[in-house]
């Protein structure tokens, strides 16, 4: 091996070592904003994102019942999760408690679609890419229940979580309907809605805040929807700014609804 080759090899080893050293350890929380990447497979596509030289597995395509739903090409994605030592999926480090939200502004750089590669096999897909077998991928959907809840007593509180900078969306009809149903049973005298402008402390120390009016916009939208849906009681609408600490910051993007008897 000549000198150039040795030097190149040394640099390559050092680079790999640095990468390995930089990779977060299992159990470590990680939070970053990056472009999502979609990789085709022989079955359903899987979703990845790269951060500081590492590739992270985000989720696979399934259907609307999934708790972790794929991001959007054309937008960066805010990823939160806990690093695991589980076998890589689609070549990506697996995260536990992963939370994804698309950043609202368009980013034309986020357009990577990778072809299927025999090394990456998705054999746990609960739903093929075409027609289903007659049921949702996750039934009942995570967080949902087919059991009739007990009659409500006393004040009832609900947290509604949002995508970054976004208001009410496809994520919310189920919970809004549940609030409506409980309100019909409880017959509250007061409705208190508090909107929160979310904040995120990213792994690189960056503090990411939602748009300044987000908490108010969310609170007024939720209060208006519930009122128009029939909860016609005295209401109170508040809004606050969240403080980020890097732990489950996704929960700061929320509206809290309180029904008071």
């Amino acid at each position: 091996m000549n000198l150039i080759s040795k030097t190149f090899m040394s640099l390559a080893v050092a680079s790999v070592a640095n990468t390995l050293l930089a990779a977060p350890a299992p159990g470590e929380r990680i939070s970053f904003v990056s472009c999502p990447i979609v990789r085709d497979t022989a079955t359903v596509p899987c979703w990845l994102s790269e951060y500081e030289g590492d590739s992270y597995y985000l989720t696979i395509q399934s259907d609307v019942s999934a708790s972790v739903q794929p991001p959007l090409l054309g937008h960066q994605v805010l990823v939160e999760g806990i690093v695991t030592d589980a076998p890589a999926i689609c070549g990506g480090i697996v995260l536990d408690e992963v939370r994804l939200t698309a950043m609202p502004e368009l980013d034309a750089n986020c357009n990577t679609m990778l072809p299927a590669d025999d090394r990456y096999i998705i054999d746990f897909n609960p739903r093929p890419p075409g027609p289903s077998a007659g049921r949702l991928a996750f039934d009942p959907p995570p967080g949902g229940s087919k059991e009739e809840p007990p009659p409500p007593e006393g004040p009832q509180e609900f947290d509604i979580y949002f995508d970054f900078d976004k208001g009410i969306s496809f994520r919310h009809p189920r919970l809004l309907s549940e609030i409506l149903t409980i309100a019909e049973k409880l017959q509250p005298s007061r409705l208190v809605v508090t909107g929160v402008r979310g904040a995120h402390l990213l792994s690189d120390g960056t503090l990411l805040r939602e748009a300044p009016n987000t908490g108010r916009r969310r609170a007024e939208e939720v209060a208006g929807l519930l009122r128009d849906a029939g909860i016609a009681v005295q209401g109170e609408v508040n809004w606050i700014d969240a403080v980020a600490d890097g732990v489950d910051d996704w929960q700061s993007r929320r509206v809290t609804v309180r029904l008071l008897p």
Partner: protein, 527 residues
Amino acid sequence: MSKLKTKLVAWQRLLCFLITVMVSSIDGTLAVAQPVQEEAFSDRSLLWWSPGEDRPLPAYIEYENEYGRTGLLNTSGVIETDGHPFFEALGTNGRGCVTCHQPADAMSISAATIQQRWQDTNGTDPLFAPVDGMDCPNKPAGDPVSHSLLLSRGLIRVALPWPPVDVETEFDLEVVRDPTGCNTDPVYGIEGEKQQVSVYRRPRPAINLRYVASSRFGVSPFIGKTGQLAAVDPETGRPLNMNMMADARDSTLKQQAQNAALGHLEVDTPLSDDQLDAIQEFELQLYGAQAWDFTGGPLSVDGGPSGIGPQAMADGSDGVLGNNTTRFVFPMENKWADLPEGATENEATRNAFLESVQRGHDNFFYRTFWIKDAMHINTVGLGNPIKRTCATCHGMHMTGMDTANGWMDLGTTNLPWALEPPESPWAEEEPVMPLFKITCRDDLPPHPFLGRTIYTQDPGRALISGKCEDVGTIVIQQFRGLSARAPYFSNGSAANLRELVDFYDRRFNIRYTEQEKVDLVNFLSIL
């Protein structure tokens, strides 16, 4: 034409049709069709149904079209149209519901029929009423140029208030191009006396409305795709599927009938409850589908696919998700796969056609491609893009509609995908559709795929909801009776089924083979 002459012609037509009618037998099943009398159908002027003709609409009747025959089935039996509000000229302009919902056109109206009607009446039929049968009501009467969009694409002018009533709009609307002159008109324009925006849309087919109006799946107080409040039936207080009109502005059959009467028919007084009941009752018992194909022969026969033909529509379940291998969107049970070669040339040709139909179905149902940047499909938790099939969006059992709250942007009206003539010094084709510039508010998140500046021929649902994300979203309509009612898409931009398939091929970069396109057209033509 005198009333007597009208009746004579009407009875003459009925006699012609009865030759080909497939009548309901005692047990409700259909007998085999009689041989078609092609001479009875070769003249499209004989197919027109004017309001007030007072002839009965048979329990079952077939009408010829480009591909074969479409069957209409009244499950309550013969409809006496004398005095029936659907068939009478209720309005001051001489129109009835039937004017734009012609039995021969699967209860919609094709551009070919419109052109024939212009020719037959020299443009004097109430169909061409200025209110919406003209590009703008102030155009010169009797000039086909005044009716260019109706004659060329079968488009009716839909004038909506701008800005929308009782809605906070998230965007500004500017007129970039106004080939009809209506959106910049001092009376009818968006800044005119009436403060209207004019968009141009195809009349939807008034068949199989039990399916279209069904609220059995995916309906809740809050709209599944957006979380916004769903429309509520004023009679029952229950939420509705909002799947009837292109922009979902009316959500019950009675609301649609009432507003169509006030707008399109220009009635002096609103329809009575009895009239609305009669229209709804008629619409909920009427089914339609292609019944016979020139090459494939009878489409609903014993031992054939269970989801084809008008009787299948009458028998089917509404409000059922069909994008699965338990119910299917259009159940065919592989009945037309691997047919024998055929003992005669005719049989061979027929079987080859039916096999093509089966392949077209399988392509529709199983052939994956990347669905990308489609508002209200890529944004509802599936990701962008998703690797799915036609049946993902067209998933409702028996109709191919979306299951609920089915407005989405497939690119039929929004640029860059909407059909636009090339802009070049050598281009001779002039744009025919209006073009609007939408500027979404900068204090709100942008449209997820089109940003804050959107160009569109028709803002669609956004003209009702005021939402930036709804710009260019159109409610998906049913697939039945397609052969009878070209052109396609809400703006009539696909002149025929091949252009419809070609649009999707371009829009989603599917790269269909020629055989796949032929199969899909054959499949769509027999629905």
